[in-house]
């Protein structure tokens, strides 16, 4: 059982590192969300600034 756990997790780690090393495009692909998250955060802030600090989008469902 111990061997199973060690082998499985080690294999996954090795596979991830292999992909990271082999395909540079993968690196960009996997890193992209950290930028898009910031963009999205900024969009919300901007909307809030433009709305004069009032609740602009408070709910939306009927």
């Amino acid at each position: 059982m111990i061997n199973l756990i060690v082998i499985a997790i080690s294999a996954i780690m090795f596979a991830l590192l292999l992909v990271w090393w082999r395909w540079p495009a993968f690196r960009a692909w996997i890193e992209a969300p950290k930028y898009s998250m910031l963009c999205q955060e900024r969009r919300f802030d901007d909307q809030r600034d433009e709305a004069g600090n009032e609740p602009v989008v408070d709910g939306g469902h009927a």
Partner: protein, 911 residues
């Protein structure tokens, strides 16, 4: 104004040929409402916790009402923190973050309000009331009754629709790590929760414990940790306005966490009857988890590079930073304490309580508070008092540090005492001051939470908070643009575009694997083992015993008393042979416990008399002066000797613990056939083998008559004797006075409900041999326990003190031969069958009597005592009153004869 981020966003859109479109709506009402609910439940839960802690120092505090007893408040404390505080805080974060992360609104506002009402009223409020009323499960992190558990599962199903579906509408390749943690936490908790709550009710004992162990850890690993880490990964970049160090590492950390966390569960039952392969698997997984946390925390802290000043200025970020550091500390601590050399020492102690508070406050609560403060500043129209928030941070940090340090030291102290042969109560006495400090440390924590709440409703209304933070660095934008293009190409051309799907499948696979390797396979092994060795005579519990078991569970007894003797020499020496799986075959659910405030109860059968048990339940301090166990007066009609049916049921259950093993002669059979149980002794090298220890006579527990009791003689030198008497008095007051009274007259507080009454130590002269035997073996048939766990010098001091209590009675008035002959004749006719011809307590009937008849050569009553016994008998023993059978002259002749057996001179002798 066209902002920098809008430019960035626009270019990002072009690169991804994807229109982000209008911003999704955010249910700020639900954010605010859940934040409000989180603080209401937090304050209530912390008050529960402080009350529970106070009861360690003042066990009678609020002890007369069942709703306020320690066990029920303890259940509500942890469930309140789990569901009330953290659950509501996480839900508030979901409503705030999911629209941002998924670029989609949550599914439905109405569904959100339905979820709010279910969570707070069907789960938390109902759960609290039901637990307080006595409807609960004695399962760690699953204390709310099953009817509430059903609503919890319903709530998680609703969460899937409300929060997970919006992510499914987005492309997984765009999903930020916080989104992954939210999805993973909701789905895996939804799967794990029923297993931890329902299965132990269907699968008994050791087999059920394997499942319980999984949930104990999954509650933290699949609910608390993912959502807290999601908040950390969200707040840090949102505050610093810089991307996290590595999204790749964050995803590695995410998947390894979900791969390994479910595999950790059995490390709560190291050295138990669960097959060792499962235990070792969990330990290895714990080590992996520690490595994963190092990865995650490194990534998070590197995400703060260049922003250390901001972390000190921005209070919400500081909360998160503290939580991240605590996450590292508590996780490494967890990995280390799962290791056998450490676990054997600190498990069951307050060390673990310190560990859990570091996890729930230091890690999860700090990050949740940081997340709330961060969100709150960005919710339109809210107030925010930064000064008060700052005070809240420091109060919480100080209170937590004090609490964890205190509990960690207390745990080490307890462990040290447990390794010795000192009486169990010594470990309670040793940490009394630590418990007081722990209680006091709860006050700044409570004050911190109140201040935090105040900070959210006072101060100026929220303003733009983004102006003070730096924009994304230019070089990173270029990298991002290049990366976006490459990522776009990669995501639609390579087979690894399905990596997330593959990883999700692997996560589910590991989740299933955890149940397979840690619960199902060990369960099958245990089932086979039980069938092979369980005595055929093992009886199920009677209806009364079963009801008693339910009462035992509802009052939280299992949270202070384990019902598992581990395969460790220290455990075996103190409690007896290690628990075998078959002993638990009728335990629905298991009551193994994960904490010892009081001793293990696995071998309680025949250790205490019913009158002692009832007195102990009515008020523990009547028989154990320094006990911190809560009283249970609602199980009695006003006094210890008037138990209700519930009191009798609980007594009946307590008397079943270890019964099957003792009655079956399992240990004798095992020794005779040299067939040792299969669970190996996992003691480390150098540890005395638990299995090699004779299992029948635990040195520090009751029971087990030893004919080789040493005869202890007090000092002969007057000065030394005086010193012994003084020390003996102190020991007597501490250990004996609750029954025998402070002056040794048998009139202690417990004497009213004990039968036979505790001996009046002033009414007879006891020989050294007699006192040594009683202190070594106890008095069978009475509540007098053996005290051979005390050092012999202490026993000698007690003997010296007891002998100093004796006041020689008046000399016999007449000892003429006629009276003596008459007494001799009466003794032979009426007394010798029990007391023997020579008064040595060895008559033909003596062997069947418990307590044994008095040996007048070893216990030499005064004339007054002898007369009183003949008049009234000794209630609770076979000695009847003789005043109706013998007239006064005959009784007088008997007293004269009995005293002639040792003579007035001998009465004062030491032999």
């Amino acid at each position: 104004m066209t902002t920098f981020a809008q430019n960035l966003s626009s270019r990002h859109n072009q690169a991804n040929t994807r229109d982000l479109g209008a911003l999704p709506s955010v249910e700020y009402d639900l954010v605010r409402t859940h934040v409000f609910a989180s603080f209401v439940t937090l304050v209530i839960s912390v008050v529960f916790g402080i009350t529970v802690a106070t009861k360690f120092s003042f066990p009678d505090f609020l002890g007369s009402h069942p709703w306020l007893t320690w066990g029920r408040l303890r259940y509500n404390h942890t469930q309140g923190i789990f569901f009330g505080w953290l659950g509501n805080a996480f839900l508030a974060f979901f409503y705030y973050a999911v629209p941002r992360l998924a670029n989609r609104p949550v599914l439905s506002r109405k569904l959100g309000w339905l979820l709010f009402w279910i969570w707070n009223f069907a789960v938390i409020l109902s759960g609290w009331v039901l637990v307080a009323a006595g409807f609960s499960q004695p399962l760690e992190w699953a204390e709310f009754p099953l009817v509430v558990a059903a609503f919890v599962v319903l709530a998680f199903i609703l969460m899937v629709f409300e929060f997970v579906l919006p992510f499914f509408r987005a492309r997984p390749s765009d999903m930020y790590v916080s989104g992954w943690y939210i999805i993973g936490g909701i789905i895996f908790t939804m799967l794990a929760y029923p297993v931890g709550n329902v299965v132990p009710n269907l699968v008994p004992g050791a087999r059920g414990a394997a499942f319980s162990g999984l949930w104990i850890h999954d509650a933290v690993g699949l609910f608390v940790t993912p959502f807290a880490v999601a908040i950390a990964y969200y707040v840090i970049p949102a505050t610093t306005r810089r991307p996290i160090f590595s999204h790749f590492l964050s995803m590695v950390g995410f998947w390894v966490l979900f791969f390994t966390y479910p595999l950790n569960g059995t490390h709560h039952y190291v050295y138990s009857a669960i097959p060792m392969a499962a235990q070792k698997g969990a330990i290895v997984a714990s080590a992996y988890l520690g490595m994963d946390v190092i990865l995650v925390v490194t990534n998070l802290l590197l995400s703060l590079r260049g922003s250390s000043g901001l972390a000190s200025r921005d209070v919400p970020l500081r909360f998160v930073w503290f939580g991240v550091v605590s996450y590292l500390v508590v996780s490494l601590q967890g990995s280390v304490q799962a290791l056998m050399p450490v676990n054997r020492f600190i498990h069951f102690t307050d060390w673990v309580i310190g560990h859990s508070h570091l996890a729930m406050i230091g890690f999860a609560s700090f990050i949740a508070l940081g997340g709330i403060a961060h969100m709150w500043q960005r919710i339109p129209g809210t107030r925010y008092n930064e000064r008060m928030m700052n005070w809240s941070f420091w109060l919480l940090a100080i209170g937590l540090t004090l609490m964890v340090t205190d509990l960690t030291i207390a745990g080490l102290v307890e462990a040290q005492v447990w390794q010795s042969s000192a009486p169990w109560i010594d470990s309670v006495r040793a940490v009394g001051s630590y418990w007081l400090v722990r209680t006091l440390s709860g006050l700044p924590i409570l004050a911190s939470f109140v201040l935090f709440w105040t900070a959210l409703v006072t101060g100026p209304r929220s303003e733009t908070v983004t102006s003070a933070v730096r924009p994304v660095a230019a070089e990173e934008i270029v990298a991002f643009e290049n990366g976006s293009a490459a990522a776009h190409e990669f995501s639609w051309t390579g087979w690894l575009s399905h990596a997330h799907v593959v990883a999700f499948g692997a996560g589910v696979g590991f989740f299933a694997l955890s149940f397979l390797v840690l619960a199902i396979i060990p369960g099958k092994e245990l089932e086979h083992e039980i069938k092979r060795v369980a005595p055929v005579t093992m009886a199920t519990l009677t209806a009364s015993e079963q009801r008693g078991r339910v009462i035992y569970g509802r009052e939280g007894c299992a949270y202070c008393h384990t019902e598992q003797v581990r395969s460790l020499a220290a455990d075996v020496r103190r409690f007896g042979a290690p628990t075998e799986p078959w002993e638990t075959k009728y335990d629905y659910p298991q009551l193994w416990g994960t904490r010892r405030i009081g001793p293990d109860l696995s071998r309680e059968f025949n250790l205490h008399t019913p009158d002692w048990q009832l007195t102990h339940l009515f008020n523990p301090r009547l028989v154990v002066r320094d006990s911190v166990m809560p009283p249970y007066p609602w199980l009695f009609n006003g006094s210890a000797n008037q138990p209700t049916q519930e009191g009798l049921d609980l007594l009946a259950y307590l008397q079943t613990l270890g019964r099957a093993r003792q009655l079956s002669g399992f240990d004798q059979q095992a020794l005779a056939s040299s067939v040792q149980p299969e669970t190996p002794d996992m003691a480390i090298t150098g540890e005395p083998s638990a299995r090699a220890t004779p299992p029948a006579v635990p040195i520090a527990m009751m029971g087990g008559y030893s004919s080789s009791a040493p005869v202890l003689h007090p000092a002969s030198e007057p000065a030394d004797l005086q010193e012994e008497v003084s020390r003996g008095e102190m020991l007597f007051i501490r250990n004996c006075a609750s029954c025998h009274g402070p002056a040794g007259k048998g009139d202690g507080k417990a004497s009213a409900s004990l039968l036979p009454k505790p001996a009046n130590l002033t009414a007879a002269r006891f020989s050294d041999q007699r006192l040594s035997s009683v202190l070594w073996n106890g008095v069978a048939g009475s509540a007098m326990p053996p005290w051979r766990q005390l050092p012999t010098e202490d026993l000698r001091a007690v003997i010296a003190y007891i002998q100093s209590l004796h006041v020689p009675g008046a000399a016999s008035s007449t000892q003429d031969m006629t009276t003596l002959d008459m007494g001799k004749s009466l003794f032979a006719a009426n007394c010798a069958s029990c007391h023997g011809d020579t008064g040595a307590g060895n008559g033909s009937a003596a062997g069947a009597l418990s307590p044994a008849p008095t040996n007048f050569h070893l216990k030499k009553p005064t004339q007054e005592r002898a007369w009183d016994v003949l008049e009234n008998g000794v209630p609770g023993t076979a000695m009847p009153p003789w005043r109706s059978q013998l007239n006064a002259d005959e009784r007088h002749a008997l007293v004269t004869f009995v005293r002639s057996l040792y003579s007035p001179a001998q009465e004062n002798s030491t032999q």
